[in-house]
């Protein structure tokens, strides 16, 4: 869905005037405007659903000061893709909603969606999804991150995610001994 790229910028100039729109306009921390399906936003984000229901959506662009334009573009992209892929066979085929299956494997398009992201973009998206209360997007992005962590030692995880080791040698040894078995698994 490369066509969606840059959609946000295009939207920025297109001011939509109708009062009763089926989209909402979101404004990133750096002032860029993005348009997203109202239905998809309400369905996928608990925070946006609350804002839409509470009438706190600004037609000129609802301020999301915590989210940068790159992450917001991905959020909007995800919402629009999700809206297009619904009803998806995988999500509605089961007539029983099993409350015991908290996580459904990412679908093919969701996998592709997160696979193309850089590390930084992925983490920004996690933060945005977390802020907006987007459970499914969190599942999908975190699934990707957990795949990146799978089978990696703490050293490798630090390297991949560029994290500083703030433990002393002694502390680290203590933790390793406590959980020795966990270091050989997966």
């Amino acid at each position: 869905m490369e066509v969606d790229k840059g959609k946000g910028e295009a939207e920025e100039t297109r001011k939509v005037a109708e009062a009763d729109r089926d989209t909402v306009t979101l404004k990133s921390s750096d002032g860029k405007l993005f348009e997203v399906s109202k239905e998809a936003a309400a369905r996928l984000s608990t925070v946006l659903a609350g804002m839409i229901a509470g009438g706190s959506i600004d037609d000129n662009g609802t301020d999301l000061k915590q989210i940068g334009s790159e992450a917001l573009e991905n959020v909007v992209d995800y919402c629009n893709k999700h809206a297009n892929s619904i009803p998806s066979a995988a999500l509605i085929s089961s007539s029983i909603s099993f409350n015991t299956a908290p996580f459904k494997e990412p679908e093919e398009w969701e996998r592709k969606f997160v696979d193309r992201l850089s590390h930084d973009a992925l983490f920004d998206l996690v933060e945005a999804a977390n802020f907006l209360g987007m459970e499914r997007l969190l599942d999908v992005t975190c699934h990707k991150i957990s795949e990146m962590m799978k089978g990696k030692s703490p050293d490798q995880i630090r390297e991949v995610f560029n994290i500083k080791n703030d433990y002393t040698k002694e502390e680290l040894e203590e933790i390793r001994q406590e959980l020795a078995w966990a270091f050989y698994d997966d």
Partner: protein
């Protein structure tokens, strides 16, 4: 990633498998802080997939293992076994040369990621197979009890302690010694019976009160059974038909886990006759959509669900009936073992089968039909639900008794 707030970081880590979360604690301080937070641990446990404990059947293989299979096993092709995840292994269980009797009694209960194991010739063991911790419960046998029957495992809310309720047979009463004569058949009746509570982390069993002396109920398979695995509902453990007062009272036994007191409760009158006749009907308590229900399994293809709609007034209502054409059953009706076990696997769905049969069926109660048949070749299905947890427990830190075999876990 360094810049992520704790909230977003927790959002990522809470979705990781248990071993990964534990390993993440070695990454840096903030990761350790996030992954040891009690809220995080509760959330992580709640998100673990629901599984069922299965046992590799001893006659088929030389090894004996405790495995899990993911629920709901919704497999349209019954001949393909769903994948199993191994938890414990017999060879490694018997690390110090002790033999563990293979068999179904080895895994007694599963609660909050903890398993209660019965190693046949030692104390009961509480084990968290995910964090690979285990400890023994206070010994009941050989002293003060000649024999101990486990009844149920629960979390005592007020103290936060995990406790095992047991029915213990004490020493023979002296006056009965003569009366017994040489027959030996009444050995069971002449012993002192008490309920005991074994607290994880405790040192001695606590005697709760005198336990009833009634004929041993008979399990449908013909085996003598003492107590069924109870169903917990509203902080109360319930035994429907397999308990010591079942045949004399025709009632269900309930044990309040807070006050630790027993009482008898009504069973659906319509099932009373059937409850006595365990060869044609078998009842299993379940918690379904927040209600205590009993699944009455009649033959291989008929199921009725009775719900305790009014818990206080003990009023039971027929919730639904599911009839499955015998011709649709995998392997044909003649090969089908009468189902004796049931497990609720999600809104409106239950899994039905028997420990001795490796085919289980998923019934959809809303659509009143059989959804699928699941074949788990060579496995005993325990119908014990399991959800892994990495919640720490202080009782695992206290030293174990020397009686306990050294458990090693599956690698």
């Amino acid at each position: 990633m360094d810049a992520l707030c704790d909230d977003a970081l927790a959002g990522i880590l809470v979705r990781l498998p248990s071993a990964s979360v534990l390993r993440c604690r070695a990454v840096c301080r903030s990761w350790r802080r996030v992954t040891t937070d009690p809220w995080f641990l509760r959330d992580h446990a709640a998100r673990r997939p629901l599984e069922m404990i299965t046992l590799t059947a001893p006659p088929c293989t030389s090894t004996w293992a405790v495995n899990t299979v993911s629920l709901p096993v919704d497999n349209p092709r019954p001949t393909e076994s769903p994948p199993l995840s191994p938890l414990l292994h017999r060879k490694q269980l018997a690390g110090d040369g002790r033999t563990w009797m293979p068999g179904l009694i080895n895994v007694l209960y599963s609660l909050d990621g903890l398993l209660v194991l019965f190693p046949w010739n030692g104390p009961f063991i509480v084990c968290n197979p995910v964090t690979r911790q285990w400890t023994d419960l206070p010994a009941l046998n050989p002293e003060p009890c000649f024999k101990a029957f486990p009844c149920g495992f629960y979390l005592h809310g007020p103290s936060g302690e995990y406790r095992l309720l047991c029915h213990g047979l004490g020493e023979e009463e002296e006056e009965d010694e003569a009366a017994r004569g040489g027959t030996g058949s009444t050995w069971d009746r002449n012993r002192k019976r008490h309920y005991y509570i074994l607290t994880a982390g405790g040192t001695l069993p606590r005697r709760l009160g005198v336990a009833p002396c009634c004929p041993t109920p008979t399990h449908p398979s013909g085996r003598a059974a003492e107590y069924d695995v109870p169903m917990a509902h509203r902080g109360i453990l319930h035994w429907f038909a397999l308990h010591r007062e079942a045949s004399t009272t025709a009632k269900m036994l309930a044990f309040d886990t807070v006050s630790e007191t027993f009482r008898l409760m009504s069973r659906p009158p319509e099932l009373q006759q059937a409850a006595g006749n365990t060869t044609t009907t078998r009842q299993q308590l379940l918690e379904l959509d927040g209600e205590l229900v009993v699944a009455a399994m009649q033959g291989v293809a008929s199921l009725a669900i009775w719900a305790l709609r009014d818990y206080k007034a003990e009023v039971w209502t027929l919730r639904c009936r599911v009839e499955v054409p015998p011709s649709t059953l995998y392997g044909g009706i003649s090969n089908n073992v009468m189902p004796t076990m049931a497990l609720a696997v999600g809104a409106g769905a239950i899994l039905i089968g028997d420990r001795y049969c490796d085919v289980a069926r998923l019934y959809d109660l809303k659509e009143k039909r059989m959804r699928s048949q699941i074949y788990l070749g060579g496995q005993y299905l325990t119908f014990l639900a399991f959800r892994g947890s990495i919640m720490p427990h202080a009782f695992f830190d206290s030293p174990r008794s020397s009686e306990v075999p050294h458990i090693k876990f599956f690698d």
